[in-house]
Amino acid sequence: MERIKTLTETTYQETQEHGGCGECQTSCQCGIANQACEN
């Protein structure tokens, strides 16, 4: 197996520039992690 395999490409830092539109669904813990960003 590979020594270290990274599953993710996007980082939170990258969403800091373009995020914050507020159009995503209200979430009730369901839970923040499961919603895809609408934009």
Binding site: M1, L7, Y12, Q16, G20, G22
Partner: protein, 467 residues
């Protein structure tokens, strides 16, 4: 901050502040752990040699080189740089984008564990009038600023007890949404008793999502979910739900169950709903109740619940391999297109951009605060008059909760539920620790599933290449 754990044969490393998820071999897993204890690289190399005498010098050197590359790329041991983002969404001019309409403070069931005291919210029974509901929708439009997507939940009590008003309110919203450049998304949460052909047709046309309450196996569901005469609801509601879901086609729905101390083997309820009843979109939530209640979950239950969540994750992977997947809401995680960091630090928006409206037009931070006069925000005619309370909710984020500061999962949960925090600690800035423990376990399972799914996709691609 990082979080390391082993599950289902995988070594998983989560980098908390970058969102990076790594799968490693044993050597890298232990090397990362040594660095995480605060060791310098030289010291860690020595310690790793002791732990892994079978590893060659080259392997050990390469392992640390790989780790250094990830650190340089800000994908391992990355720093927390998001404190400024906390409150960004809420410090903007206050907009409201979602309302929970409590159209019925009454219910045709009599569930003993109901947080809303059988729909009456510890107060008088009553139904929302069309005029009150209409004013609530106008209030939402007036206060929504430039937000286009507006959400309205029909909730109760049992909203279908007041179905005519639900229909009238949707018709009213549809008649005005275009002129205001808004897109109303309605959802319905129902116990299933009053689900008729007319309800199904209306909901499938108008409701973006429906939440159908069912606790799983008949004996489990009928322990709590009973009618006024004490009769279980299972035989009545299951055929209604099956008809509803079948007619719904590919539109959103999910079965929403509650598990308690009486059914800590809750995966059996999930599998019953999937295998015996044909539902594929599923959610089972831990009961939140007075710790002295016999149905309350206990510390002794935790290891059992942890095991149940792992059983569920592994079984869901099996179903995926068999081509018959099911969805469990807490395991839906989008690693690439999930919410932005602003959303992740600021949470659900209760009390600021999301509010509950009672049948009489009073505003509360969410449906779980209704009936507590201390938490009344105002009403739909005068707006939010208790601005001090709204400001307190504006400050609700992962940085305002001391207990979250050492939690690896905080950017997946955004600080948790303010209502649960209030009920368990007396403070909306507290945390409901029992819920946190279950949340962290669910996230470990969800991330493990992502690792396994990536592996499945890889081996599928490899076998296609070989052909």
């Amino acid at each position: 901050m990082i979080h390391q754990y082993k599950m289902n044969g995988y070594n998983i490393v989560v980098d908390v502040f970058s969102a990076s998820v790594h799968v490693t071999d044993d050597l890298a897993y232990d090397a990362i752990h040594l660095l995480d204890t605060g060791m310098g690289e030289e010291e860690a190399e020595k310690a790793l040699r002791k732990q892994h005498p079978e590893a060659s010098d080259e392997d050990i050197r390469d392992t640390f080189l790989d780790i250094q590359e990830l650190i340089k790329a800000n994908k391992l041991f990355s720093k927390d740089v998001y404190q400024k983002a906390a409150g960004y969404l809420k410090q903007q001019s206050t907009v409201v984008k979602a309302l929970c309409l409590l159209v019925a403070h009454t219910c045709n069931l009599n569930c003993s564990y109901c947080f809303a005291s059988q729909g009456k919210f510890h107060g008088d029974a009553g139904l929302m009038s069309f005029e009150t509901g209409k004013r609530a929708l106008d209030f939402l439009i007036e206060n929504s600023g430039n937000r286009r997507n507006l959400e309205v939940d029909f909730f109760g009590g049992e909203p279908l007890v007041n179905f005519d008003v639900c229909k009238q309110l949707v018709a009213y919203a549809r008649s005005i949404e275009k002129q205001h450049n808004k897109n109303f998304r309605f959802t319905l949460t129902t116990n299933g008793v009053n689900v008729t052909d007319e309800v199904i047709e209306w909901a499938n046309k108008e409701c973006y999502n429906v939440v159908l309450s069912l606790d799983g196996r008949k004996e489990v569901n009928d322990r709590f979910r009973v009618d006024k005469a004490g009769h279980g609801s299972y035989d009545k509601i299951v055929p209604n739900f099956q008809k509803f879901v079948k007619a719904r086609g590919d539109k959103n729905y999910y079965m929403r169950g509650t598990y308690s101390h009486y059914n800590t083997d809750f995966t059996k309820d999930i599998f019953h709903m999937a295998d015996d009843l044909g539902f594929t979109e599923l959610s089972m939530e831990p009961v939140v109740t007075d710790p002295s209640s016999p149905s309350a979950l206990t510390e002794e239950d935790l290891p059992i619940l942890y095991e149940q969540y792992e059983i569920l994750a592994k079984d869901m992977l099996r179903r995926e391999r068999d081509g018959k997947p099911i969805t469990f809401y807490h395991y839906m995680i989008d690693l690439e297109h999930g919410p932005c960091i602003y959303k992740r630090v600021s949470g659900c928006g209760s009390g600021t951009e999301y509010m509950a409206v009672t049948a009489w037009g009073d505003l509360y931070p969410c449906h779980q605060f209704v009936s507590d006069p201390e938490y009344k925000l105002g009403d739909i005619w005068h707006g939010v008059t208790n601005t001090k309370l709204r400001d307190e909710f504006k400050e609700c984020n992962v940085y305002s909760r001391p207990d979250c500061q050492n939690c690896w999962a905080r950017l997946y949960c955004a600080g948790g539920c303010a209502a649960n925090a209030l009920h368990s600690t007396g403070d909306i800035h507290g945390t409901y620790e029992y819920g946190c423990k279950l949340f962290r376990k669910r996230m470990e399972c969800a991330l493990m599933m992502k690792v396994a799914e990536a592996e499945m996709a890889e081996s599928k691609a490899a076998s296609e290449d070989a052909e």
